[in-house]
Structure formats: structure tokens, C-alpha cells
Symmetry: C2
Subunit: 350 residues, 2 copies
């Protein structure tokens, strides 16, 4: 029958071949946002990525599984009512029943867990992984890539850096053939928000931080953001992925923003500069530190945005910016990986 | 023997299957820059795109052909010495001997020629085309796409908009699954240079234009740039490619920059704005016109840069900027299409 319909596009032929069975690990804000988008945008996404069905959702306590596809909105209702899914099911229980694992558990940059074990197990079992979780890639980027290479499964991680700001595939696809000389980025929206307001309102760090905490832009314990830990973790992923480095967290020179004063902004402004927390990667240096940025620089951005300036040999300087966090933004990045995986197999070499 | 070597990556298997025979049409600054880069970066590019060989180079008068691969540096020497290649050979003579045509002839947004005929003929003959030439896509985007669909050959055109600024594949790959709501861009570096300097130096349009002409940033006849024709042509391509429109040049409302005064900048600045030539596409409107841009907007850029702000449903606003012109920048964009074509077959749906 198919032949009688005449010419089919490659995408539609591919989509008929296999319905991909999806598992989601981690059902917090990111996991729920992703699950919701996989349902509400199914028609659009299936045209690009082929057919799929969510068969399992796992959180830290348990999970649900259905061969025919789980009822995502029912799962969200249970999670938001009980704070957990039905107890018992674990990621390792579903690995022989899924084709792709979306790994959305919380980041731990010290141990990488529980994401690291989830990803490693999945890859060993030939399951492709799309993750938003920085920790596993900071702790063991090369190890996970080797496991993937051995099993033939693929690991994709656009959502680990910069939320909806395109950078991993941007460099690998749009700048294919370029040598990346350096990357300078604003990779933490909380710090950029605090520094933007210090610049504009001439108020001290502690006061702006308190307000950011009230607005939910900074955590009660802001250490992870304001000491540059989050930015350093993202920088390690960029260096390993785009510069061919073999770096870990301890390779990053790191200074936070807590000792910056309104006076520093005033002195900088007299010379045409502001101050931003810049994460910089070259083949030799990985550094997160407050830096002077000219007012006319594309890295002079305001609010919680993220940005990156990529220096290359052919294309010169390419700059990209976007929202660094948010559940639909993270879903967008993960779904672009899903389409890439389905269309092209994996990221290209860099 | 191959099996005995053990596991091969898909890329290296692919690269062994076929050495792609490349033809280049147009041997001006863009064509020569591309040819040079295809030779000097052969090792890097072949890892990503598989094996290739330049077998033909055609200019407006003639060309050279060699089954074993032409001597690119000798061809450049001849072209720069004589102003032309040996007379006689035409694009239609080489179409059954090449797999990919890089179309780099000069743009004509009225007729699309000679690029339109080159591209159409190539696609009809099953030859994939990668072009830097806006004209053919402004005159007949849908027609060329239909020819490509019918023959199974592919047409790729990242280099037609914004030079090394990533935008076509950025939206199709990185924002796959997003609905694009609007695109606002600074798509002409000459206008942006003139407006930036008017803002900063408070000098009249005519004086800055003269200096830009002396520096080679503006043409002797600047109409194509300053009347927004170039930006409008690029906007038509973006709308057709990324918003699913079926637009042509006459659908663009267009106002140039020649009547902007230093006083306009002064009045705008008092309210926190500057003035830039903005090309805007939504599903309903295509417009190129001078617009007020807040100093803190990511579209407040300086010099000959290009930028685009893409409004989407999931990712929110994504901004990208890069060098809008230059031979290595254009080569970078064409080579990224070449890698995409080799890895994934074509652009994804949008």
C-alpha cells in the first residue's frame, strides 16, 4: 500500500518504521514541562522526529509504566497532589523497555548522582539519552562518551548549558569546519540579574541579593550561583564538548560576585565599562570571574539572560543569547536534541 | 578487510562510500574564498562531510574541469591575472559530472539570474546545490523547492542570509519543535555601520556615507544597501524558509535610511533609544524600516555586524549575531551546509 501512495519524504518513511518508546527520569519542574510538551506538541514533533510514546516516568521514589503509553496529565496530577509517583519502580527496571531516556533529575556537580548512574546504565543497555543534568557531564564526560561509543547508544546534552540559548548544536552544526578558538559566556542568569541591577540602581550586593531571593531568582542558599559554581560546571561541559578538552570542575579558576561593590561599577562606568561574571574557555584556561565588559559589547546584557561569544577561525565572532532557565526553555533544548537524534543519529564530530 | 579493523564510526563508513565531486559556479571573492577553504581545510572537513574533490570551476566567461580534481591555486592565479578563466565551459556542461554545485554567482534580486538557471538545472539533474546567492531564492523560492522535491536533490542556502550569522539551521535544528512567531533582524551591515556612526558622532547621513564609500563598506551606488533592498531580499528568504510564507520581494514594505537626521538620533536618545534599520517578518507583515531600538536591546549593535531576534513559543526570544559579510564568513556558512547535507541529507522540516 505504501508504495502506491507514490513518493514519500525520507522523514515520513523513517517515522513509520519505528515508534520510539520514551522514558523520563526526574519528574520535577523540568521533567513535567518536558512531558507536557511531548504531549501537546506531538503532531509537530512527530513530523520531525518520527513516532513516539511515553511509556515510563520515574521520580526519586517510584514511577509509572505502561506499554501503551502513560497518561501524562494523570501522572502530573498525582505528582502535584502527593509530591511523588507510586513507589517502587526504578530507572533500571525500564531500560529494556525504552529506546530513549530523557534524564531530568537534579544536578549534583560533586557526585553527578543520581543522573550519572541513570545515564551510564541506559547507554550500556543501548538506550539513547537526552539530558538536562549538568552533574553527570561535569563528573564524567569522557567516561560517559566512551560508554556510548562502545554500545552505539547516543548521549545528547544541549539542555545542560544555557537553557534555550543554542550553543552545543550551534557550534557543531552551524560552525562545522570552524576551529573554535575560545568561548566567553554569561552562563548564570542569577548573577547577571544581580550585577545588572547593581549597575543600574547603584545598590549594594547584599540588598539586591535579598530582593532576588524574594523574587525567586536567587536560592535561599545562593552559593551555587553567586560563587560561580553553576557557571563553572557549564564551562567544563562546553570545553569538553566544543574545545576537545578533558576537563573537570577542579580545572576551573573561579571567583564569585559577592565582593563586588557599587563603587566598582562607578569606576568602571567612567571608562565605558560595566561588570559581568564571565566564564571563559580556551584550550589553556578555564576561568569564571567578574570582568570588565564594554557597554557596547554583545556580552553587556541585562537581567537573567545567558549569552556566549564564540571566537572561530572562519566565521570570526559569533554571539548567541537566550533564556538560561525555565521549564519550556529546557524542554525546547531537549526536544531539539530529540529531533537531531532522530534525523541525523547524533551530534557531528567537533 | 574493513570488517577486520573492527568498529568504524558511521561517519568514517559514510566517507568511504563515495568521494563527492564538487563544482563551483561563480569565481569572484566568494567563490575563490570557498575554493581556497575547501583545499586548506580538507582534512577537517572530510572527517565531517566525507571525501570530496573539486572537479570544476566556472565563472561568467568559461571555466576549468578535471576529473582528477582541478588545481585550485592555479585557477585562482589565472583568474586574478586574466580576470577570467579559460573561455567556453558552462555550468550545463558539467552537471552530469558533479554531485554538489556550490553556486556563488552575483545576486540579482530582479531576475535571479544567472544563479536561478544554474540552480534549477542542477536540481533537475539530481545535483545538490549549496548557494550564497539571494537572487534565485527571492525570485523563485517555492519553484526551486518543488524542483528539488521532484528530483530528490537538495537545495541549501545558509549563506544567503547574514553571512556567518547562523540563522537558517539555527532555527531548523536548535529550535526544532518551536513555532517561530516573528523574526526581527539587522540584516544589512552597511546600513548598520552608517547608523552606528551617525549615533556616535552626531554627523549627517551624507558625510558618513561618503566615508563608508571610501572605506569600501558602502558601494559607489549605495542604493541596494541604503534603500533596504538587500535587507528586504534576505527577509523574503527568512519568511519563506522559517515562517512557511510564500512571499516575493514586492510583498515587503520598505523604507531606507537616507532621510534620517542627526536630530532624530538626539531626540531618540533622550528617551533611551537609538535608530536601526530593522527587517521584521511575521506571518502577516514583511517590513524593512528604520525603527527605535532601546539602548539595552540586543538589537542595539554597532558596526557592520548582523543580528536577529527570533521570537518562539517554547524558547522565548533567542538572539544571534555575527559578521554579515566576508569571504571566509560566507565560506563558513556554505561549508556548514555541506556538512549538514552529508550527515543528515538536508535541512529538517520547519
Amino acid at each position: 500500500m505504501k508504495g502506491m501512495k507514490g513518493v514519500e519524504s525520507m522523514e515520513s518513511v523513517e517515522s513509520m518504521k519505528q515508534v520510539k518508546r520514551i522514558g523520563i527520569a526526574g519528574f520535577g519542574v523540568v521533567g513535567r514541562g518536558l512531558a507536557r510538551t511531548l504531549v501537546t506538541k506531538k503532531d509537530v514533533l512527530e513530523k520531525r522526529a518520527g513516532g513516539y510514546r511515553i511509556v515510563a516516568i520515574i521520580d526519586s521514589r517510584g514511577g509509572i509504566y505502561s506499554d501503551d503509553g502513560v497518561d501524562v496529565f494523570e501522572a502530573i496530577r498525582i505528582k502535584e497532589r502527593d509530591g511523588k509517583l507510586p513507589e517502587g519502580l526504578r530507572v533500571e527496571d525500564i531500560l529494556d523497555r525504552i529506546d530513549v531516556l530523557f534524564e531530568c533529575t537534579p544536578t549534583n556537580v560533586d557526585t553527578g548522582e543520581p543522573g550519572f548512574s541513570h545515564i551510564k546504565l541506559a547507554l550500556e543497555n543501548g538506550v539513547d539519552v537526552i539530558t538536562s543534568n549538568k552533574g553527570p557531564l561535569v563528573v564524567g564526560f569522557r567516561e560517559l562518551m566512551k560508554v556510548a561509543e562502545k554500545s552505539g547508544a547516543r548521549l545528547m546534552y544541549e539542555a545542560t548549558v544555557g537553557g534555550a540559548m543554542p550553543i552545543i548544536k550551534l557550534v557543531k552544526n552551524e560552525l562545522a569546519g570552524n576551529e573554535v578558538l575560545s568561548i566567553k559566556g554569561i552562563l548564570n542568569g542569577t548573577c547577571n540579574y544581580i550585577l545588572s541591577r547593581m549597575e543600574q540602581e547603584k545598590m549594594p550586593y547584599s540588598q539586591i541579593l535579598s530582593e532576588a531571593q524574594e523574587l525567586g531568582i536567587a536560592e535561599a542558599d545562593p552559593t551555587y550561583d553567586v560563587e560561580g559554581i553553576d557557571a563553572a560546571a557549564k564551562l567544563v561541559i562546553l570545553a569538553n564538548s566544543l574545545l576537545g578538552s578533558d576537563a573537570t570542575f577542579s580545572d576551573v579558576e573561579r571567583t564569585g560576585i559577592s565582593s563586588i561593590t557599587p563603587e566598582a561599577f562607578e569606576i568602571a562606568a567612567m571608562k565605558g565599562y560595566t561588570i559581568r561574571l564571565i566564564a571563559e574557555a580556551t584550550r589553556d584556561v578555564l576561568r569564571v570571574s567578574p570582568r570588565l565588559v564594554p557597554f557596547h559589547s554583545p556580552l553587556c546584557i541585562y537581567g537573567t539572560l545567558n549569552a556566549a561569544l564564540i571566537q572561530t577561525d572562519l566565521a570570526g565572532e559569533v554571539v548567541v543569547m537566550g533564556r538560561g532557565a525555565g521549564s519550556s526553555e529546557t524542554a525546547s533544548a531537549m526536544l531539539s536534541d530529540f529531533v537531531e537524534l532522530s534525523r541525523c543519529g547524533s551530534y557531528p564530530l567537533k
